[in-house]
Amino acid sequence: MNRPVGREVLLETRGLSRLYPDGQVQALRDVSLSIHLGEYVAIMGPSGSGKSTLLTALGAIDRPTTGEVLFAGQPLSQHPNLDALRATQIGFVFQSFHLLPTLTAVENVQIPMFEMPWSSTQRTSRARDLLEQVGMSHRCDHLPSRLSVGERQRVAIARALANRPQLLLADEPTGNLDSQTAEEILALFANLHQTIGMTLVIVTHSDEVARSAQRCIRLRDGRVVEDSGTVVS
């Protein structure tokens, strides 16, 4: 197991279950796991196995039906301000990028920064720095419609890094990309992990993505069936 030893636990789930309101779909069943600060984790599993549901629970976007998620030791159910937690501690990268179509790349990156006490000049300057970091400095003033899908995902990653989060959650970040672009995005994630020690949790179908991670958690029917090669059940 590549799990870092002696490091602080950033995320922890205890007996996490998620039953959707229609009562028909049990997306998660008694999921308990810990993710340490600075880990690079891939969550894998077939469609409908609960990967994205687990990601939304980890990211304080969705609430579990039972169980608890702890962020830096604090239960999310008792957290006073989940909006602020998402804004400042967690970055999200989506499969479909979700960039605002009327804003340029540099403007899109600034969207999460409105929740920070930064001036317009500071926001713009930081957004340009981030775009440079993801290799997009030459496309700052382009609208998403004028960017390739790989470039859009780079902008989305820059947006996710806008408020210097501790944790980056990515839902199928290479799902819409060709293999070469996917490799470039994976290299970007690896770089973020190695250079700034960012904690990465990536939901993926791709074995290649899983191989790039330190640790792989496999889900089936809402349960953890394997954790970095260790068969759970």
Binding site: S52, T56, G59, I61, D62, D83, A84, L85, R86, A87, T88, I90, G91, F92, F94, Q95, S96, H98, L100, P101, T102, L103, V106, E107, Q110, I111, P112, F114, E115, S120, R123, T124, R159, A160, N163, D171, E172
Partner: protein, 383 residues
């Protein structure tokens, strides 16, 4: 990037829809501003017609709403004139009359005034001559009416079935009077079959050393005056502004202007509501994503309300400009020429912007709250 830049860019996604909504707001605000502006202009013109002659009090019959429905004994004029603090009194008998003009009719105010009274001093004869004799079968008409009826000195004018010679054309210091007719008071009393009766009179109070309390003293004295038989004169004296604000036609004009404005604003608010609800429904996933990346509910509310307020402010600007242009055009229209001066005061424009702000808030608050209620997970479920 400023937050406002985001709001403008959001609105520009649907340019046509945003523009049409702006137009709806502009029509609502424009209607409000032009109607309130005309009423205000009419009120100001009426006040100016009295104050421009130094009139302090207007006396009419007790219990009526304006001079047109008032009926007073002309002898009371002398009793008022004898009050020690009264400087001058000018009685008048007025009524509306219709005159044929180029296939249509023009309605004008016909005033019966004393030929030696101070009211005539406010009229400048621009063509012909003024009224000189009480028994003169003559009329002078305002420049605006002369233009509408295409009359000049020497022509005749039929009033109440009697023919009067137009001896002069006048221009008043107040444009409202330029669309009227003045004949000697005895002639007006005769053709209206109201001998020795007047509809009201204007009183100038002697205010030595700026004694403004004198006006109130005279007002109270007039209301207590009795006729020759010792009966109450049934007169009420009002300061000019009170009289104008209380007069029936001004109140009706105000009520109609407000009623029409409220309807326009409600229609505008419904249009705004529809636009903003559509905008939120179209952006469910996007707003959820904004919530997922940490936007507070209050920021989502600010975004949607900000967008509706931008639409309402742009609409208010367009509507106010349109109202000013329309009002200027209306002031030149022969049928109302002289009745209004076409100017719209800053308070009326401010009122239009205030109503537009309310419209923006009313139209935006429900969609904003609806958007804020969207769950952050909503957008990801559709992935």
């Amino acid at each position: 990037m400023h937050f406002a830049t985001l709001l403008f860019k959001n609105l520009l996604r649907r340019k046509t829809r945003s523009l049409l909504t702006c137009c709806g707001v502009a029509i609502a605000v424009g209607t409000t501003v032009v109607l309130l502006g005309i009423t205000d202009s009419f009120e100001r013109a009426t006040v100016h017609a009295f104050e421009g002659r130094g009139v302090d009090l207007v006396v009419i019959e007790e219990g009526v709403i304006d001079q047109l429905s008032s009926d007073l004994d002309e002898k009371m004029v002398q009793r008022v004139a004898r009050l020690p603090e009264v400087k001058d009194v000018a009685p008048g008998l007025l009524d509306l009359a219709a005159f044929p003009a180029l296939g249509s009719t023009v309605t004008a105010l016909v005033q019966g005034w004393e030929v030696q009274g101070f009211l005539l001093q406010g009229l400048k004869i621009t063509s012909g001559q003024g009224l000189t004799e009480p028994n003169q079968h003559a009329a002078i008409i305002g420049k605006g009416l002369a233009d509408s009826l295409q009359k000049q000195p020497g022509d005749s004018l039929e009033i109440e079935g009697e023919t009067f010679e137009i001896v002069g054309i006048f221009e008043s210091f107040t444009p409202a009077e330029n669309s009227g007719v003045v004949i000697p008071l005895p002639q007006m009393q005769r053709i209206k079959y109201r001998p020795e009766r007047v509809t009201g009179f204007s009183v100038v109070v002697r205010q030595d050393g700026g004694d403004t309390a004198a006006v109130d003293r005279v007002r109270r004295q007039i209301s207590k005056l009795v006729d020759e038989q010792g009966k109450s004169g049934r007169m009420v004296a009002q300061p000019v502004r009170d009289y104008v604000q209380a007069s029936g036609h001004i109140r009706i004009a105000h009520a109609m202007a407000w009623m029409t404005s409220v309807i326009a604003i409600v229609v505008g608010a419904i249009g705004m509501l529809n636009t903003m609800i559509m905008s939120v429904v179209e952006r469910v996933r996007e707003i959820s994503i904004l919530r997922a990346i940490g936007w507070k509910k209050s920021r989502v509310i600010r975004m949607i309300l900000g967008e509706s307020l931008i639409i309402s402010m742009v609409g208010a600007t367009l509507g106010s400009l349109g109202a000013i242009v329309l009002s200027q055009g209306l002031a030149r229209w022969p049928a109302v020429q002289g009745m209004i001066d076409g100017s719209i005061g800053p308070p009326i424009v401010a009122m239009g912007f205030l109503m537009s702000t309310l419209l923006g808030l009313v139209g935006g608050v429900y969609p904003a709250l609806r958007a804020a209620r969207l769950l952050p997970a909503e957008g990801l479920r559709h992935e």
